[in-house]
């Protein structure tokens, strides 16, 4: 792509698309909430049924229990949650975001390590390459949510509690993209580069650090971006079977049980923003490490 985009070139499209999404969202809110509003809300305010279309629209956009809350409702809920409560209160969504971020990050770091170690083992061992790799693929077809409760109980009976079980689930989702990308990346050195080190009689360890690892970095970082998103999903999923405790996942869940649709959407929006922040953090790390750049 173009090397450098101007401010407008970069942000105008994003703003336009965001506006389009907002417009769609409002339209969707009216459309989806219409039936409920006519059935449950308008009869209360207009007992004789003399409501107008503008009444309908204003009601659909401000329902207490909408099918799809309007953007401004979500924004107001988010704002009051962030501003009206101290940071360490369970009513402040940032508190929950922090809880989720913590297990995500721990799981991400562990998952990345596991992924890299597994990949290193696989590229160096034919046995592991043949025996393990297919099972690693299969492992990802197991629905995590199904086994998360069991994993949590088992880990608990082994004495792990607190962040550890949640981080483990996050790790389970994180390691896969890293392993796949690193296997590819560690095998990326061309024959000629490998042979060059061969003529120097370099050891395997030297070849790993001097050639394989640097060649794999361009593969690693995109996979890290995938992994951190997967880790976030894992952390949130893992929050469900810990009971309705803290975290954005727990907020989604309790929002649903308490019939608080707006609350669900606030948690949803915040989780997307958290995902964005984490992805940006990984991208920043990438730029830091690959700062010196290379020929594209």
């Amino acid at each position: 792509m173009a090397a450098r985009l101007t401010f407008t070139q970069r942000w105008l499209p994003v703003a336009t698309v965001l506006l389009a999404v907002l417009a769609l969202w409002y339209a969707g809110a009216v459309g989806l909430n219409k039936a409920g509003a006519i059935e449950r809300v308008l009869p209360n305010s207009h007992p004789n049924g003399d409501w107008t279309v503008s009444d309908l629209v204003s009601v659909t956009l401000n329902m207490e229990r909408p099918v799809l809350p309007a953007p401004h409702q979500v924004a107001a809920d988010l704002y009051s949650s962030l501003v009206d409560w101290p940071l360490d209160s369970p009513r402040n969504l940032l508190y929950h975001a922090a809880v989720t971020a913590q297990s995500t990050l721990v799981g991400f770091v562990l998952g990345t390590l596991l992924g890299v170690v597994l990949a290193a083992a696989i590229v160096h061992s034919r046995t592991l390459d043949r025996a393990l790799l297919p099972w690693i693929v299969a492992s990802q077809t197991v629905p995590v949510l199904a086994i998360a409760p069991i994993v949590l109980v088992i880990l608990g009976s082994l004495g792990f509690s607190g962040v550890a079980p949640k981080a483990t689930i996050a790790m389970y989702l994180c390691f896969f993209p890293v392993t796949v990308a690193m296997v590819q990346g560690l095998r990326a050195p061309q024959k000629i580069e490998t042979e060059l080190l061969h003529t120097y009689a370099a050891s395997k360890l030297q070849a790993f650090w001097l050639l394989r690892m640097p060649s794999a970095l361009p593969y690693l970082f995109p996979s890290l971006r995938v992994a951190i998103a997967a880790g976030l999903v894992g952390a949130m999923v893992a929050e469900l079977p810990t009971g309705a405790q803290a975290g954005l996942g727990a907020r989604l869940l309790t929002g649903s049980y308490y019939g608080n649709t707006v609350g669900i959407w606030s948690a949803l929006v915040l989780s997307a923003l958290l995902g964005l922040a984490l992805t940006l953090a990984v991208a920043a790390l990438e730029r830091l490490v690959l700062r010196r750049g290379r020929a594209a």
């Binding site: 003529t199 120097y200 009689a201 050639l211 020929a295």
Partner: protein, 280 residues
């Protein structure tokens, strides 16, 4: 000019008797296994290269020049026959770091600066950083790249990259230098310049050089002996001893002696070529 005041290369190989051949290939054959029919890349090669010789291998595409070089460098096993390098097997010679190998492509690591690329083999050999850096700077100077130390490979032109790779191979002072079409990708003028430098380097240090090329002029200009090979299965057609003086300049190329040699090589090639054309 530099060579005398540098410490001698570490005696990694048992000091060879002056008469011991640098490379000794006896009845060597290489067959590549293949799905349909095995490929006979080299057949019954006999070749002895003395210490300090500059030997060029020339022949049509696919005749096995690279294969022969790779066999000597322990990058490819032989199917039958024997190969000795400084009296050792290629494997032991490689572990003893007896040779430097220059590939056709520069094979520089894009994440290392030019300087760091040249330091790579020295680091692998465990030299300390300061010493490695000093040697790398000196070698870069010799190939005319002082001032480019901090650049990355992709910031250089193809010719400059190839010069970096030569500096890298020279840095650890291998007894034997193997070069596989090192100048194949360069334009004629740059190539002439590098030929000249390589020639002077050999004059100064008299390392053993095994050189693969497609260019008749290059082979004639550089070598003390030219090995002409036939198309598959690769055989040695002819070995031509150079009649040129050891010290050479580019002007030499317009002399009748040079032309006669070039003609002899071309004829040798043409003899073997007919059948092989289009078949590689």
């Amino acid at each position: 000019m530099h060579a005398p005041d540098r410490p001698a290369a570490p005696p990694a190989t048992p000091a060879p008797a002056a008469t011991q051949a640098a490379v000794d290939v006896r009845r060597a054959s290489v067959v590549y296994p293949s799905a349909d029919a095995p490929v006979h890349a080299l057949s019954d090669i006999d070749l002895t290269i003395a210490q300090g010789e500059f030997v060029s291998l020339i022949g049509p595409s696919g005749c096995g020049k690279t294969t022969l070089l790779r066999v000597i460098a322990d990058l490819e096993p032989i199917t039958s026959g024997t190969v000795l390098v400084n009296g050792l097997t290629p494997h032991d010679a490689r572990l003893a770091r007896a040779y430097g190998y220059v590939f056709q492509a520069p094979a520089l690591f894009p994440w290392r600066t030019v300087l760091a690329n040249v330091m790579l083999p020295l680091q692998i050999q465990g030299r300390d950083k300061a010493a490695a850096e000093a040697i790398a700077r000196e070698q870069l100077g010799r190939v005319g790249l002082t001032g480019f130390e901090k650049k990355y490979p992709w910031q250089l032109s193809g010719g400059m990259q190839q010069r970096v790779s030569i500096a890298r191979a020279l840095g650890f002072e291998p007894k034997i230098l193997m070069m596989d079409e090192p100048f194949g990708a360069l334009d004629e003028i740059t190539r002439d310049g590098l030929n000249d430098q390589l020639q002077q380097l050999w004059q100064r240090e008299r390392r053993t050089v095994v050189f693969v090329t497609h260019s008749i002029a290059e082979a004639v200009y550089l070598s003390t002996r030219i090995v002409v090979m036939s198309p598959r299965p690769g055989r040695i057609l002819k070995i031509i001893d150079s009649t040129l003086p050891d010290a050479r300049t580019l002007d030499l190329r317009d002399t009748p002696e040079f032309m006669a040699l070039a003609h002899e090589v071309r004829e040798g090639l043409a003899d073997g070529h007919g059948a092989g054309h289009g078949g590689h």
